[in-house]
Symmetry: C2
Subunit: 399 residues, 2 copies
């Protein structure tokens, strides 16, 4: 039987990342695909204790809750954001089913079909999926290692009159880059001038390798009117709780709350109560420090193996935090085709091309270093480096 | 600062129910508003034990999961649906963040702006919100106590060529009615003839007062191609876990899964694992039997107080299950205006008017009998009956 779907589904694409994950999860493959935190580092006892406390606290936590989410947890998040310089009132904060939902609800209330969003290129794939599903016109802005290039940003703001600029300025997915403070300020200045909203997606901000460095959120530079800021517990606590949050101007948050009523009434409030207890009773910052140290070590393992090998024409951005290495192979090598060879050899990654809005660079690769243990990391990288070497030298021979 | 929202937000309305709940939750009011199960009947120990088992089972349950949801739980649900006559394969079942999300995702992939859905009138308010947010044309079909009237249904199918008919045929929200088997079969027959999909929303089906009665889901009468069926754990276990599910033709479920990737990646998988253990280790059917008995008793308390009072012109449908009494006051009385008086006197309800797609009957009221203890129920009903009596006799005097 044939079903007549909505026009907008032609824009719905399966996530290339999720598809790869399905394949690699079923086999004996060391995976550098996916943006998965490490299972072994999950604070299991703390989560268990938090749930225990929730169960003892009475039955309210089992009942239907507020659309905006459990207030005490929102208060805790206001405090945590405050430590990063972001000021927020209660009505400016809403809990969401992952920060993914924050992106979805924002797009739903902000964009009519044909409206424009400016993004980095490459950028977070599932955000692009969201924008596409609302038939938003996605215009990429030229960037370098410091962020969007001001001249191109200003030009495109003028030309396309976007409603919003979507950015992942701190340990970006997939590029791992960090915007400079100067570029953050410039983006904000332009956004104010052009009456454009900035959507700052910050899932990895806590995972910095140098604890002494500060990366000021754009939301902290703002007066509360121009920036939406979203983050999540998925990378610092556990992903399965699907708890993220968004902070922004009240008129926008209120509209998003109305959209959320229709979307899922409210998020898992048992998880909200548990996370509240966890934040009160568990030293989350100390746990995050452990993650920072461990992920830094793993990044170094990956980096050393790349550096030690003979890989002419391969380059990468050294991550200052987050979860990903962004690797560039020699231009002639197609990373999507190479993936088959990699998987046959027992290692997987995500090609960079699906993360591009346009003009995908086929020779790019995103490598995750957080999910594998150091041993697996080493083993997998040795295999992958071999695969790269063979591809590079084969290419050289063919030239 | 002014924000230019998407065109579709003009259709976004705050839920009248949620707004009332906000008011009544803050005061000393006995509330018959809301569709809340009773906190005291929550199977807390079972949920606690289930989470305990989940925590012991290893860290996989903390990690990111499949978009479609934890497979073993889906297998359990296939079995439970099988007991109701609904056959399903694994790929035809997806877990959702409440059955609310099932409605939202379905609308997202099914309806272009201007497409038509046929509904009952009144019907579930938050479903109407969803359809409105996707700019769907909502056409109500005439009904009586047995369901949609066939002649009007056929006429409107021909005239409007809907994509879908949305129904809550078992202990409907808000009317509490149950469709007859004959009308269910007729709807299915017409839907097949006209190539229209039926969306069967069944959150209350388990809460029947006569355990010997069976109310055959429309999905059980279908060959698997014409009906989507959604239900939830919210009314039988606990709402806070936000776990529902949808079963339908694979092409539709697959499309909804793609939409879900963008919406929230996946639902709270820790909850999925816990619910799986709960279904294996806890006698859920026996717990449901307890709920059936207890809710029946409460319904009877409410009914007796209505019957015993002098309320000329007041009528109601006796619920055979579910959570709601649908009450009709004398025609001249506006239940929305009367609500202020009720709340001043310490009792709240939801007026029926917001549940109408069109031609709202201002004298209707939805009363929930599940959330209050028997004592509060009695106390609140005595007050409410007084409020009704005063309104009715005042009206008579004015005539």
């Amino acid at each position: 039987m044939k079903y007549a779907f909505a026009k907008r589904v032609q824009h719905l694409q399966s996530s290339a990342v999720r598809d790869i994950l399905k394949v690699v999860n079923s086999g004996n493959v060391i995976s550098f695909a996916g943006g998965l935190p490490d299972d072994d580092l999950f604070p299991v006892e703390a989560v268990e204790a938090a749930f225990s406390k929730t169960f003892q606290s009475g039955k309210k936590s089992f009942q239907y809750g507020l659309t905006e989410g459990y207030e005490p947890l929102r208060e805790v998040l206001i405090e945590r954001m405050g430590a990063k310089g972001i000021k927020a009132k209660l009505e400016e904060v809403m809990l969401t089913t992952g920060s993914q939902q924050a992106i979805d609800l924002f797009a739903r209330i902000m964009f009519s079909p044909g409206d424009v969003v400016l993004t980095e290129n490459p950028t977070y794939l599932a955000a692009v999926q969201v924008f596409q599903s609302y038939e938003v016109n996605i215009i990429p802005v030229e960037s370098d290692e410091h962020g969007m290039i001001p001249e191109d940003l200003e030009y495109k703001m003028k030309k396309y009159m976007p409603k919003c600029v979507y950015v992942v300025p701190t340990f970006s997915n997939p590029s791992g880059k960090v915007w400079s403070l100067e570029r953050r300020k410039l983006l904000l200045k332009l956004a104010k001038k052009k009456n454009v909203v900035i959507f700052e997606d910050d899932p990895y901000g806590e995972l910095k390798f140098n604890p002494k460095e500060t990366y000021t959120p754009i939301a902290a530079l703002d007066n509360g009117k121009h920036v939406l800021y979203t983050s999540t517990f998925s990378k610092t606590v556990v992903p399965a709780l699907r708890t993220g949050w968004i902070k922004g101007p009240y008129q926008i948050i209120r509209m998003m709350a109305q959209a959320k009523q229709a979307a899922d009434l409210h998020s898992n409030s048992l998880a909200h109560h548990a996370l509240y207890h966890l934040c009160c009773d568990f030293d989350l910052n100390r746990h995050i420090a452990t993650l920072q140290k461990e992920y830094f070590n793993r990044m170094k393992i990956m980096q050393n193996l790349l550096d030690q090998a003979d890989l002419p024409g391969l380059s990468y951005i050294e991550p200052k935090g987050g979860m990903f290495f962004w690797v560039r192979l020699p231009e002639e090598i197609n990373a999507t085709e190479l993936l088959n060879t990699a998987v046959e050899n027992g290692v997987a990654y995500v090609p960079g091309a699906p993360f591009y809005v346009s003009n995908p660079e086929q020779n790019t690769i995103r490598l995750n270093f957080t999910h594998s243990t150091p041993d697996k990391l080493e083993q997998g990288m040795k295999t992958l480096v071999n695969v790269f070497q063979n591809a590079i030298h084969l290419e050289k021979q063919e030239v």
